[in-house]
């Protein structure tokens, strides 16, 4: 009788064709452990089977790229022997089931991806998307996710300095919890995952293995249904204290030259780490599972290989270094065990209780994993919206107030303050502006970090939306004075087996690739999260972009706050008054339609380079990019941050005031400069082929426009700061 029934195969998420390929590779029927290994390695989460052919089209190289996608994280050269190592990852499904632990372990996982390469993490960012505020689950999810991210990051002592938080009913059943970590390493001390050296010991360190999250990796790839909340025991509990010890112990060992290769145990723990290390190194690995440190008794080989217990690492050590390494890990109170060795067989061989319990050729397991060219359909374009068809608001100030107090545009202080964003003592620009800025210890340089995406644009036009996400991230980094270097991404989409969804994915990648090329902003790492869909309702396509930028001098930066009265306010970049897909359109009319704003990448680059140059030369210290909500929302944010108002003037000949002040045209910045410097800057802009114009003057404690009072800062502050705390205070 066969052990492997069609039900078991289906239960492991393998199709009939995929199972046929397993049989072919094995030359026999697999046992349950072997089937489990194929199942997790060939899950969407580990194999990228639906996305791989498209991801390949992204630009991933550049003069500063030391290591692009394929390793645990991307590596970028910062000069002076320093490298930034960074990546973003999703923990969407687990966070929906158990928001605190799901989000916490998401942070733990992305931290390990970065420190496994030898970097000390210096920043965490967390792009979050929740369902409608009035959905019965949303408040509980927001509270749990934010507490979980803080609970893990704060305990680790790594500042959380940025992220996003927006709300839309499309996320009611599938929230997005993405987390990005940026770390710092020396370029000559970067660690990779390719196993090497036949006979070298395979070493397990960190927490003991329990029956945590078995089948988590396959869960992360399966569409949600109403029974998924029953799959509860698969939730893992994070232990940030152990991870902190693991971080310090790993960095201490990395200071020596004992490590040949190292890989964190993430999704599909021991399976994916050992298979990937063997596959990258073109070698075999033999494991004695009896030696795996275990938290529970009676664990089977299947359970050990599929466990997703957190806070664990797998390493290949140089021969003879075991004792020194063990001393370090034991000093930090962590489990340390030699559990196997590197072989020349090219096979993953597992021993347990005196028997060989799995024997799989590693090459075919990884190289012959399924790849799908899934059918896709383009998203039909939406017509642009003519502002003339949208009524002017009776009261521009009231429209501004409504936007500033809306869930998407309100202050995220309630979140930011639950994260330790100061630990480390290097946070120069705190969260709340365009990008956070960290100084690099012992160096005059600084690193700016930001995450961005506007899912409603991607939904309306995946190509433009994909390009916009990259461009907005580049713009936010530029707005503090950074030279953008590279990005990581987290591609959150619905079910790729639906051609329309697959078309969103393909389009977004195409747009991203265009923008990355035009802006010299390569992709060095990333993550794909598909099947974010419940009962046929997919999320908005959400390619979250996380970018880093370099400042040669971390004292030459800009922040969004107005700093002095009487300064001239200039807008740099062209304003046409684009209302399609704008938040103003939604807020004023309830409509979420129209073509999103076009993305002119050449203008983006020209404008951004011009603005950055002003900041780097010390001519501009106040700058804010213009995004959601348009000019007036950005101006109000600058006024609130600086505690001083502005007197604004609508340019003569403006045909539609709301479109001018709330339109979401791209590639724009607002700057404030001493009044006597404005003329020269406008002239320089004209000379550089950049559109720029004066909009007003800073001062007072209100916003006034065209000689009339628009809004009082105190009142605006109340609506802007009030929404999120008031919302979260309801039970």
């Amino acid at each position: 009788m066969s052990q492997i029934t069609p039900e078991i195969i289906a239960g492991h998420g393998l199709t009939t064709d995929e199972y046929a390929r397993v049989l072919e590779i094995m030359g026999r029927e697999p046992n349950l452990t072997e089937l489990g290994i194929f199942s997790v390695m060939w899950s969407e989460h580990c194999s990228y089977k639906s996305s791989r052919v498209h991801l390949k089209t992204l630009p991933t190289s550049g003069p500063r790229v030391i290591c692009g996608p394929g390793e645990n994280a991307g590596v970028v050269d910062l000069g002076d022997g320093l490298a930034a190592i960074f990546k973003m990852e999703s923990h969407n499904h687990p966070s929906f089931i158990e928001p605190y632990q799901g989000a916490a372990t998401g942070v733990g996982g992305i931290l390990r991806d970065v420190f496994t390469m030898g970097a000390r993490p210096i920043a965490i960012l967390d792009p979050l998307r929740f369902g409608a505020p009035d959905h019965p689950k949303t408040r509980h999810l927001v509270g749990g996710v934010v507490a979980g991210i803080g609970g893990y990051g704060n305990c680790m002592g790594i500042p959380t300095v940025g992220g996003e938080c927006s709300f839309h009913p499309a996320y009611d059943g599938n929230i997005l919890v993405n987390a990005m970590t940026v770390g710092l390493a020396r370029t000559d001390k970067i660690f990779y995952s390719a196993a090497a050296g036949v006979g070298n010991p395979v070493v397990y360190v960190g927490s003991k293995t329990g029956r945590d999250g078995i089948h988590g990796a396959t869960m992360a790839s399966a569409e949600f249904d109403e029974t998924s909340e029953e799959k509860r025991p698969t939730v893992q509990v994070g232990d940030p204290f152990t991870e902190k010890l693991l971080l310090e112990a790993c960095l201490e060992l990395m200071a020596s030259d004992a490590i040949v290769a190292i890989q964190d145990m993430g999704a599909a723990g021991l399976t994916s780490s050992s298979v990937e290390m063997a596959s990258k190194g073109g070698v075999g690995i033999e494991l004695m599972l009896d030696h795996v440190p275990q938290r529970e008794t009676g664990m089977t080989a299947y359970e050990m290989m599929l466990s997703e217990s957190q806070e664990r690492m797998l390493m290949i050590l140089k021969p003879g270094r075991e004792a020194a390494a063990r001393a370090i890990f034991e000093k930090w109170g962590l489990a340390f065990a030699v559990i196997g060795l590197v072989t020349d067989t090219g096979r993953l061989v597992l021993h347990h209780r005196g028997a060989v319990v799995a024997d799989i050729p590693v090459g075919p397991l990884t190289d012959q994993s399924p790849i799908y060219h899934r059918p896709w359909e383009p998203t039909p374009p939406q017509p642009p919206i003519d502002p003339a068809t949208i009524a002017e608001p009776a009261d521009l100030g009231a429209a501004l107030s409504a936007l500033l107090g809306s869930p998407d545009l309100c202050s995220k202080r309630w979140i930011i303050e639950q994260y330790d964003h100061l630990v480390g003592g290097d946070t120069v620009v705190r969260p709340g502006g365009d990008a956070a800025l960290l100084r690099l210890p012992g160096s005059p340089k600084g690193l700016a970090v930001a995450t961005d995406c506007t899912p409603r644009y991607v939904q309306a036009d995946p190509v433009a939306g994909g390009a916009q996400a990259v461009a907005e991230c580049w713009r936010n980094l530029t707005a503090v004075g950074g030279l953008p270097l590279a990005i990581t991404d987290c591609m959150n989409f619905g079910n790729p087996e639906r051609p329309r969804i697959m078309g969103q994915f393909v389009g977004a990648i195409e747009g991203m690739a265009q923008a990355c090329r035009a802006l010299d902003f390569p992709v060095v790492s990333g993550n794909v999260s598909l099947y974010n869909e419940t009962k046929g309702q997919g999320i908005l396509p959400t390619p979250a972009i996380g970018g880093i930028a370099l400042l040669d001098d971390h004292t030459r930066f800009a922040t969004i706050a107005f700093k002095a009265p009487g300064e001239a306010i200039l807008v740099v970049g062209r304003t046409a008054g684009w209302l399609g897909q704008s938040l103003y359109l939604r807020s004023a009319t309830g409509r979420e339609d129209g073509a999103p704003p076009p993305v002119d990448l050449a203008a983006e680059r020209r404008t951004g380079d011009f603005v950055r140059d002003l900041i780097v030369r010390g001519q501009v210290r106040t700058c804010h990019d213009v995004a959601d909500g348009g000019l007036l929302v950005a101006l109000a944010e600058m006024a609130l941050a600086g505690g001083r108002g502005a007197d604004l003037t609508t340019p003569p000949g403006t045909r539609h005031r709301a479109a001018f002040w709330f339109g979401e045209d791209q590639a724009r910045y607002l700057v404030a400069v001493p009044a006597d410097a404005a003329g020269a800057i406008l002239a320089a802009a004209a000379a550089a082929g950049v559109v720029a114009a004066a909009l007003g003057v800073t001062g007072g404690d209100a916003l006034t426009m065209d000689g009339r009072a628009l809004a009082d800062l105190a009142a605006l502050r109340q609506v802007h700061e009030g929404w999120l705390p008031a919302y979260m205070a309801q039970a």
Partner: protein, 230 residues
């Protein structure tokens, strides 16, 4: 000033404190390990840094307070050596009985990271001599359990003996229950032991020592120590 910082498993602001000390005194501190059973000779200052020793599990600071090195820290405090506990360090001091009271969960139950205003209540100590009496300073807090609690008798005694170092206040220096950021009794942000050579405080002066980082109101604390302990 010969200073040392104790590193517990889970400490995370030890480098921040080290930087502030080096800036103020020109000499980098030594780092000690929680399992050390002796202190370097001739120490002037011992710092218990911020962080999450033992993950803040069980009670914040409880397990660290039982570390081997804490016996030495207690003995040194008894000899008059200056001991500064910041944030988790304050929690450890309280659990070790070196300062009175306990730090409970913030009244909001949430972690809070933000700048707060403090009123310097007592300037007659080697930690606070560099401040003016009643000076209002801005420094950040970053904690989930900083809600200072002691019984009324203890609070009265602390106040009577001038052992309250800092109180949470507003920008104008006004102390009200609403400015007690974490719900602390009588807005207490820092207290001395009876000999005033041990200070426990929740806020982070070590993260406010440079204009570049948003302000330098924390510098005077380290400068005071460097001056008192040349």
């Amino acid at each position: 000033m010969k200073a040392a910082i104790v590193v517990f498993p889970g400490s995370n602001r030890e480098r921040d404190a080290g930087r502030a000390i080096t800036q103020a005194s020109g000499t980098a501190p030594a780092y000690l390990w929680h399992q050390d059973t002796s202190l370097p000779a001739g120490l002037d200052l011992i710092v218990l840094p911020g962080g999450f020793s033992y993950g803040d599990y069980l009670r914040c600071g409880a397990m660290a307070a039982q570390s081997p090195i804490m016996r030495e820290v207690k003995a040194a405090a008894g000899r008059g050596v200056a001991v500064l506990g910041i944030c988790n360090g304050f929690q450890i001091l309280a659990e070790a009985g070196l300062v009175p009271g306990v730090l409970m969960r913030n009244a909001s139950l949430r972690f809070i990271c933000r700048n707060v205003h403090l009123k310097v209540v007592a300037t007659n100590s080697m930690f606070t001599a560099g401040y003016a009496p009643d000076q209002v300073i801005a420094v950040p807090v970053a904690h989930a359990e900083g809600n200072y609690f002691a019984d009324d008798h203890t609070l009265d005694r602390l106040e009577g003996e001038g052992r309250v170092a800092f109180r949470y206040c507003d920008a104008a220096g006004v102390v009200t229950p609403a400015t007690s950021v974490n719900g602390s009794a009588r807005n207490i942000a820092g207290v001395f032991n009876d000999r005033r050579n041990v200070l426990g405080m929740m806020p982070h002066p070590e993260n406010m020592t440079e204009a570049m980082l948003g302000g330098s109101d924390g510098s005077a604390l380290f400068a005071s120590l460097a001056k008192a302990l040349p």
